[in-house]
């Protein structure tokens, strides 16, 4: 196919899609409308189970099984990356030389690192109370570790980040989620049903039954996953080189 016919075909397809989508948009309920039947029901259920952040309740209680699926995608993607980006036989590692960092950058990175790390952990821990939770806090905590790469150098990062440990952590937290779900099954109700633990006092850290547990498992899972992913990509970009002449 010549580039010109291909561009024509793409334009035709996109135009058709655009017409269909715009026609659909014109029939949607107006932006800012007042009718949200699912939302209202989700809010009611979340309040009944003493979870202040309705979104955490939807993710880890009402749709916990869906989150299990999402977590499986995440886990599979990480495993795929680890397999694809491993060091092959015709590659070798070249240690990067220690780099000089401008003092203001180093100072800034080393001041911000602990703040960002604590913020990430705080966001995970308060997932069921305030905006945040395992998904967001995990990413913040994991990326904050990599400020060390900015502020010092690659070797310093490798010293605080044993990748093997994080790979194990990833698997452990994924199974922790499943085990929490199975506990509901053993307790006589259903898989991932939030009936096992007391719901606690509204708006405290221990409220919401199994929501904080699942939230913590996801937080650990996401943090470990991001650390492992970035480690593999940094390995490829900074360290691993092909043997010459292959």
């Amino acid at each position: 196919m010549s580039p010109r016919t291909r561009l024509g075909l793409v334009a035709f397809g996109l135009a058709g899609l655009a017409v269909l989508l715009v026609a659909a948009c014109l029939r949607l309920p107006g932006f800012g409308g007042d009718s949200h039947p699912y939302g209202d029901r989700a809010v009611r259920e979340s309040l009944a189970r003493h979870t202040a952040n309705t979104i955490a309740s939807v993710n880890f209680d009402q749709r916990a099984f869906d989150t299990l699926g999402e977590m499986t995608i995440l886990f599979a993607a990480v495993v795929g990356c680890v397999v694809l980006l491993r060091q092959t036989r015709d590659e070798h590692r070249a240690r990067p030389r220690p780099a000089d960092v401008a003092p203001p950058v180093r100072r800034y990175a080393l001041i911000v690192l602990p703040i960002a790390l604590v913020t990430g952990l705080y966001v995970i821990a308060h997932g069921q109370l305030s905006p945040g939770g395992g998904f967001q806090g995990g990413v913040v905590a994991a990326t904050s570790l990599h400020l060390l790469y900015l502020g010092a150098d690659y070797r310093a990062l490798e010293r605080v980040r044993p990748v093997g440990l994080y790979e194990v952590g990833d698997a452990v937290s994924a199974s922790a989620y499943v085990v929490t779900g199975l506990a509901g099954l053993i307790g006589g109700t259903a898989f991932l049903a939030n009936t096992l633990l007391p719901y606690g006092t509204f708006n405290t850290l221990s409220s919401g039954g199994t929501v904080p547990l699942l939230n913590a498992a996801i937080g650990m899972e996401v943090a470990c996953a991001v650390v492992v992913l970035l480690a593999r990509f940094l390995d490829q970009a900074v360290e691993i080189e092909e043997e010459s002449g292959t």
């Binding site: 793409v10 948009c25 939302g39 989700a42 309040l47 993710n59 990356c81």
Partner: protein, 119 residues
């Protein structure tokens, strides 16, 4: 004005999605194509959150709002978008890992050159 405001967010979502598709189809670099795919994804987030919005409502978080005192926006679509933002990033990472493998095997990341290699 009201009629425009009713559909504008949906149309912006459609625009972002179509722009990402156009970029995917015409891209000359697989890394650029992965970037365009993440643009497509952000279109879906805009659509989801636009569907869940309610005028003069607040966020569905009751740690500092008395339950029932104010209307809140739809939490279900927010939960959907939230998980997908993070999971989508790891899928992007998987695609980039595939691109790196392609570059290792074939020495190019241009989709046109790759299809010529197949013959």
């Amino acid at each position: 004005m009201r009629a425009v405001m009713d559909v504008l967010p949906y149309l912006v979502a459609v625009w972002i999605f179509l722009a990402g598709c156009y970029g995917l189809a015409t891209s000359r670099n697989l890394i650029h194509a992965v970037g365009c795919l993440s643009v497509c994804q952000s279109g879906t987030y805009v659509l989801l959150l636009a569907v869940g919005y309610r005028d003069d409502a607040t966020a569905p978080v009751f740690s500092d709002v008395e339950p029932g005192s104010r209307p809140v926006v739809d939490p279900v679509v927010q939960a959907l978008a939230l998980t997908d933002v993070v999971v989508g990033a790891t899928v992007t990472a998987l695609l980039l890992a595939l691109v790196i493998q392609v570059a290792k095997r074939h020495g190019t990341v241009d989709p046109d050159e790759l299809s010529e290699l197949r013959g």
